[in-house]
């Protein structure tokens, strides 16, 4: 009897703990979304029930008082540009590193991995100086270049992982038939690892999309991205939280859509083989 009660208590505890976890995870997102649809007078109270409006989205899109459209475009251009450079370069290099173990390939891989531990603030100082001298501050290209420092090493490791799992026999057969390495890569390897390549591309896009420090330092007006533009919701009356929430939704939506498309690979991608 006592045993049965204990079991019941244990069961209830487990359910409660799972619900608490769910609350902890979702509530901040839920609250942000809720606030984005609130009329101004409901924002500064803890109201859960209110007439939902689109005023806040209008306020941040119309240019009156804010216009996030250019920032959204900048974020799209910079993130896409970064992905379009990082992923093809990573595919090419990781193919060689995966298929041809040569003297130095392991040190190269560890070196590429360790660049991920470089604090961004170290990277941004000299690039700020360099871009300033070249007149490239506040341009898309400067951010694409510097975003490669966080996406390319990551993409290289990810894609190498996918090539590693591919049996080499298919490629060898094609080589015997007279294909060059380049042809094998293009017509056999890349199509086979395409899901992995797309996953990597999505991650690289998200990393670049969410990036903040580089954009904060290197842009001022023309090339400002969404994450930095969030700061513009700070007015002389303090942060306008209803605008911030609406703009925040715009930062989140593309990331959520993209991460849903690759949900199965999400964990693997985030941890970059950190735990095996």
């Amino acid at each position: 009897m006592k045993h049965k009660v204990m079991k019941r208590v244990g069961w209830a505890f487990e359910k409660l703990a799972a619900l608490a976890a769910l609350f902890f995870i979702l509530f901040p997102i839920f609250w942000l979304v809720l606030t984005a649809f609130k009329p101004e007078k409901y924002v500064y109270s803890n109201a859960f029930i209110f007439p939902p409006v689109l005023d806040n989205f209008n306020a941040i899109f119309s240019g009156n008082p804010l216009d996030f459209r250019p920032n959204f475009a900048n974020s799209l251009i910079i993130s896409s540009g970064t992905v379009l450079i990082a992923v093809p370069l990573a595919v090419m290099a990781s193919y060689v590193l995966s298929r041809y173990a040569f003297k130095g390939s392991t040190p190269i891989l560890i070196w590429v991995l360790s660049t991920q531990f470089l604090p961004p603030v170290v990277v941004v100082i000299p690039f700020f100086v360099l871009f300033r001298r070249l007149g490239l501050l506040d341009t898309h290209i400067s951010l694409i270049i510097i975003d490669l420092s966080i996406t390319l090493p990551y993409a290289l490791w990810m894609i190498k992982g996918f090539v590693d799992t591919l049996p080499i026999e298919v490629e060898e057969a094609a080589m015997v038939d007279g294909c060059s390495e380049f042809q094998v890569l293009r017509h056999i390897t890349v199509p086979l690892i395409m899901p992995g390549v797309i996953t990597t591309a999505v991650f690289a896009f998200i990393i670049s999309w969410n990036e903040f420090l580089y954009a904060l330092v290197l842009t001022s007006e023309e090339a400002t991205t969404m994450t930095v533009a969030l700061l513009s919701t700070l007015t002389h009356r303090g942060v306008q939280w209803e605008w911030m929430s609406a703009a925040g939704m715009l930062v989140m939506i593309p990331v959520f859509i993209l991460s849903m498309t690759i949900r199965r690979h999400f964990v693997q991608g985030l941890t970059m083989g950190a735990v095996k």
């Binding site: 769910l22 995870i25 604090p119 890569l185 903040f212 964990v267 985030l270």
Partner: protein, 290 residues
């Protein structure tokens, strides 16, 4: 040999980009750290001053403050992320509909941009209309006078919590993966021997997870030391200098006070700290032990 040229062509572009984008800052920041350069006084770097910038750092109490803030933040955020992550994993690994639902949401917080994370937590902790502030006041009535982000310790604590929000669920996913790879036979035989749940956890699960715990702890430590975005959007380094992490302090010196020489020296001190953990991490990953 056939294809040697092809391999070279395939490999070089990526490595060249990585080299330029990482080695160039490493070298350049180091040379800048040996020079005097106030950007407001001169558009080009000034004289070499040897190790003066480093000496200055060691005599700068605000630098030591930032070191202390970084250590406090790192300890709180790492311990909470790993402990809560492990707890979540242990709860969620049992198959049930509710757990499956929770598991699919584990990825969400990490996908939220850290800059936005800082903003949204700041909103929720506002003393007049913050929803979390209201909830905390209801649960802990004695805390109703505390303005969370205006109090030095609590500002550090909540900054860490915002970081834990992103990381604990992700770490839970990593642990769920690791738990899944433990053979169920081990648990069965321990149960047959008469072990209770606590003993099972203490003497079977925990020892088996040890390598994973080490790796996750090191990984999280590295990312905590690198954390920057939420400081800007959540606390602005305040109140006073209570949340000025070393990262943020470097940023302030370099881009607020535009003292490039000093900022570079500080940045190098940060690299030294990170390198130590990165070496441990790479060694732990390659299974050499520590």
């Amino acid at each position: 040999m056939r294809g040697k040229y092809t391999k070279f062509v395939l490999l070089t572009p990526a490595l060249l980009v990585v080299l330029v984008i990482t080695a160039y800052p490493l070298i350049n920041t180091f040379t800048l750290s040996l020079r005097e350069w106030r950007l407001d006084r001169s558009p080009t770097p000034g004289d070499f001053v040897g190790l003066d910038n480093y000496v200055r750092a060691f005599g700068d109490r605000f630098f030591w403050n930032s070191v202390q803030v970084t250590i406090t933040f790192t300890i709180i955020s790492v311990v909470m992320s790993v402990v809560i992550g492990l707890a979540m994993a242990l709860i969620l690994q049992k198959p049930s509909k509710l757990n499956t639902l929770v598991k699919t949401t584990l990825i969400f917080p990490f996908a939220v941009s850290p800059a936005l994370k800082g903003f949204s937590w700041r909103f929720m902790l506002n003393p007049s209309w913050g929803i979390y502030d209201t909830m905390m006041d209801a649960v802990f009535p004695f805390a109703s006078d505390v303005v969370w982000l205006a109090h030095p310790f609590w500002a550090q604590f909540w900054l860490a919590v915002s970081e834990v929000w992103g990381w604990a669920p992700l770490i839970a996913l990593m642990f769920i993966g690791a738990l899944g790879s433990i053979s169920p036979d081990i648990f069965e035989s321990a149960k047959v021997e008469g072990a209770n749940n606590y003993q099972l956890f203490r003497h079977v699960t925990l020892p088996l997870l040890r390598p994973v715990i080490v790796i996750i702890t090191l990984l999280k430590t590295i990312f905590s030391l690198k954390m920057f975005d939420q400081v800007v959007t959540m606390t602005g380094g305040g109140p006073g200098r209570a949340t000025q992490t070393l990262n943020y302090f470097v940023y302030l010196q370099g881009f607020r006070y535009i003292d490039m020489g000093y900022a570079s020296a500080l940045a190098y001190l940060l690299i030294v700290a990170l390198t130590i953990f990165a070496i441990f991490y790479v060694r732990a990953l390659s299974g050499e032990g520590i």
